[in-house]
Amino acid sequence: MSTYDRSMALTGQPPKKLNKGQKISALIGTVGLGIMLLAAFNVEFPNRALWLFIALSSIMGGTIWYAKASYGHKVKGIKNDGVWFKSLSNKGLMGWLAGIALTGFYIILYFYPAYLGLVKDGPNNGVIALFDPFSRLLSGNPASQWFVYGTLYTVAVLAFGIKFMWKYRHNRYELVRTGSVMFFQTAFAFLIPEFMARLNSDTFSLPYYNFTKMWPLDNYHFEGYRVKSLVTAGDVGLGLLIFGIASIFIISPILTFKYGKRWYCSWVCGCGGLAETIGDPFRQLSDKTVKAWNIERWVVHSVVVFVTLMTTAVIYSYLGNDTSKYWLTKTTFLLGVGGLLTAVFAWVMIFKRKQLQKDAQYGAIGYFVIIIALIGFHFLSGDGHIFLFKSGTLRKTYGFLIGSIFSGVIGTGFYPIFGNRVWCRFGCPMAAILGFQQKLFSKFRISTNGGQCISCGNCSTYCEMGIDVRAYAQKGENIVRSSCVGCGICSAVCPRGVLKLENGPLEGRIDSNQVLLGNDVDLMTLVNKK
């Protein structure tokens, strides 16, 4: 035994041999992916509907079986054994390979869909053709690269959602929440928009409408062609247009006030759905340093400023100048946007100054950038032009940089490197706006349970948003952070029952004790004096 050849690795060598069930199920899943890969290389399948069905069900069945083989025989509870020893979840070779493969897929999807088999003005081939029968079944149209993507996306959320549920089967919050993201992805983000396409005819046409995506996450929401098509589509279209505006200005503030931004980010949103299901094995890879937090705040709020300007510019460009034709003109629109932003800014500065502290200056900078740009629009822009650019250029730049590169290629492709919420944390303007509301105007917080924290660090490690949860918990402070998406994992992995996500009274939500409960009361008051 003393001659045993020890590995030079400093960390352990846990038993990570796969069991028989895991091996067979992995094989089945790979076969499913293999069929699609063959199709992508233009192997002709005789009965596409059948082969697509086989491929999708083996991916789905393989994943679910794998989950059962991994967790089914174990006592229910936290299943993080060996997470940092595995190559896939510890940025090892497997992690990098997965990252490269995903990134490659996104680049092809966004920029070279022809390689997937998309043919303009003709029947598709390749893997897109494999999906044609399914697409025709749902919407009546041939498939596009986006249909292929949407299907795979939904299959991933469903299959890995079930895996997630198996993993956290002791935790009812996780079960209900995961059920919710699976439902919203399948019904509202995938099936209903496809069915809606069936309503379209020569006289009636709705744009593609994903109910779970609101502006500004859906940065195309208020583009001219969409608005036009909605307005001309009668009551249904107008209803959708109003729903879109109400979503961001009425519905989401109310829900965020009551439940925090989690109602959206980890219960409804498709990006969140993917991150919480197939992205779950990578949640521990998010960067928790203070430096990362600083970068996060600058980047994500810059995106908000960018998308606000871009959208304003786009709407501005298609509005007219004549009040007799339509009440909303270029000038009234700019005044409206400026007025709304001023109202929000003034309200925050007057009533919420204390909570913002030094963030206030960043907010002020962002605000003034926008206002000055608005004034600039008015004086320096002509028809179809914003400053010197065409409004379309601004839109295309945003679409390319943020919509494709950030949210897709980096946001999802880099799951195995930066963690599963890179996009949500650094890039999503929607998350930033909801986070702003969550921080200043919400009942939601993560309560810290008195003096029970032992500073172990499980909460911080498994926070996908890179929040150093422990830094608050060990001081007895509640966690009120704009980036928190309320996934509930910090509470789940806490070995001492310290953390609870809850919606409670506003009073005492943020400023809690500096010194924890358990000590003599005099000392607590003494040390709590700042």
């Binding site: 003393s2 045993y4 020890r6 960390t11 352990g12 060598q13 846990p14 038993p15 006592v75 229910k76 509870g77 936290i78 993080n80 054994d81 060996g82 997470v83 940092w84 595995k86 002791h170 935790n171 009812r172 919050y173 079960l175 209900v176 203070v290 349970n449 008195g450 003096g451 029970q452 032992i454 500073s455 172990c456 660090g457 499980n458 911080s460 490690t461 422990r470 830094a471 060990q474 509930g488 789940a492 992995v493 070995p495 001492r496 029952g497 609870k500 809850e502 409670g504 009274p505 009073e507 005492g508 924890l516 409960l517 358990g518 000590n519 003599d520 009361v521 005099d522 000392l523 040390v527």
Partner: protein
Amino acid sequence: MENIVIIGNGVAGISAARHIRKLSDKRIIIISAETDYFFSRTALMYVYMGHMKFEHIQPYENWFWEKNRIDLIRGYVTEVNHTEKKLKVEGSRDIQYDKLIIATGSKPNKFGWPGQDSHGAQGLYSKQDLDLLEINAPNADVCKRAVIVGGGLIGIELAEMLRSRDIPVTFLVRESSFWNGVLPNGESALINEHILEHHIDLRLATNMNEIIADENGRVKAVTTDKGETIACDFVGLTAGVSPNVDFLKDSGIEIGRGVKVNRFLETNIKDVYAIGDCAEQHEPIGNRRPIEAVWYTGRMMGETVAQTICGNRIEYKPGHWFNSAKFLDVEYQTYGWVFAGRGRKDHEEHFHWRHATEKICVTVAYHKDSKLFLGINTFGIRMRHEIFDRWLTEAKDVNYVMEHLKDANFDPEFYAQYEHEIVSKFNSETGTQIKPKKKSWKRIFQTT
């Protein structure tokens, strides 16, 4: 400027340093032989299990110390000379102090078992122990079976750790049921079942006689007082800890089992203080033990001594007892006092409720005559610390606790709640007719 020297960079020493820095501009030096930076000792197990890397169990980023002007020295203090106010440090120059805080923590108990120093026999306390464990028991090929001696918190954690790498574990527990000196019977039985559920070979009422080593001095088996010989490659010695104070033996600082301190955490020598696991109170505080090796008491002693050192001399007065732990997959919390075995007083009445199928149970202790609420143990249910702390301060009776139990629930949202079941069993046993009240935010956050 005054020189504050702290020996030990565990939670007690670090809390003292942080609070001294908050209150003053004094020079702060922390000496540790164990690691460069503070880490959470209670989280060492998660590093072995692969839940976290070692860097994750360090609560502060490495720049924190320099930014807060807390000097860290790596070295082993061999001698304290209080007449010259000087420390001898192995691997470093002598260090002068104006005030000295001893926060050296514990070391694993070894009770003189034959063979206890063989290769492959070890305790689990320090970072070095963790590194040693990686050598002794890296996987099930090297370590075909492990034997753990001592049925306490570290023992069951070590068992969980080894099982995470599929290493077969035999768990020798002296008591007739797991930790039944602390846990009432129903709870202790629940944990026994849970240990077996995790395929741990639990041997109750069994002591180890000796550790048998092979010709290389490596562990090869243990014998028990049941006459059995168990072949193994690793022996975990987890029969409790005791204060790590041997280096002070001839220093003139009064030593009992730990460093003797008064309520102000002062030793018999002026300007020398002791806090955390290594401190021993002359007189126990309330029902607490004179030496408390608990995370939060170390933290609170650090906070207290910081006040004293910065000119506001105050007593260490821990509030109501509380604690928590996790036995494999079952979380445990306790507030107030629930005694078991010999510690249980005559007037202490217990009410016990256990879920029919799940590993969930509750034990409430109260005074037989006055019905005064004394304490609660919960398994598989989280409780709100503030609420029980308040109820204990306000000396509520057990009926009040039962009626307002929903206020105290701290389980995540959507969890099944058992207050109605619990209270109805309580009613049927005590002849009361209590109806649990709905949870009230107003009551929870009242600030009187």
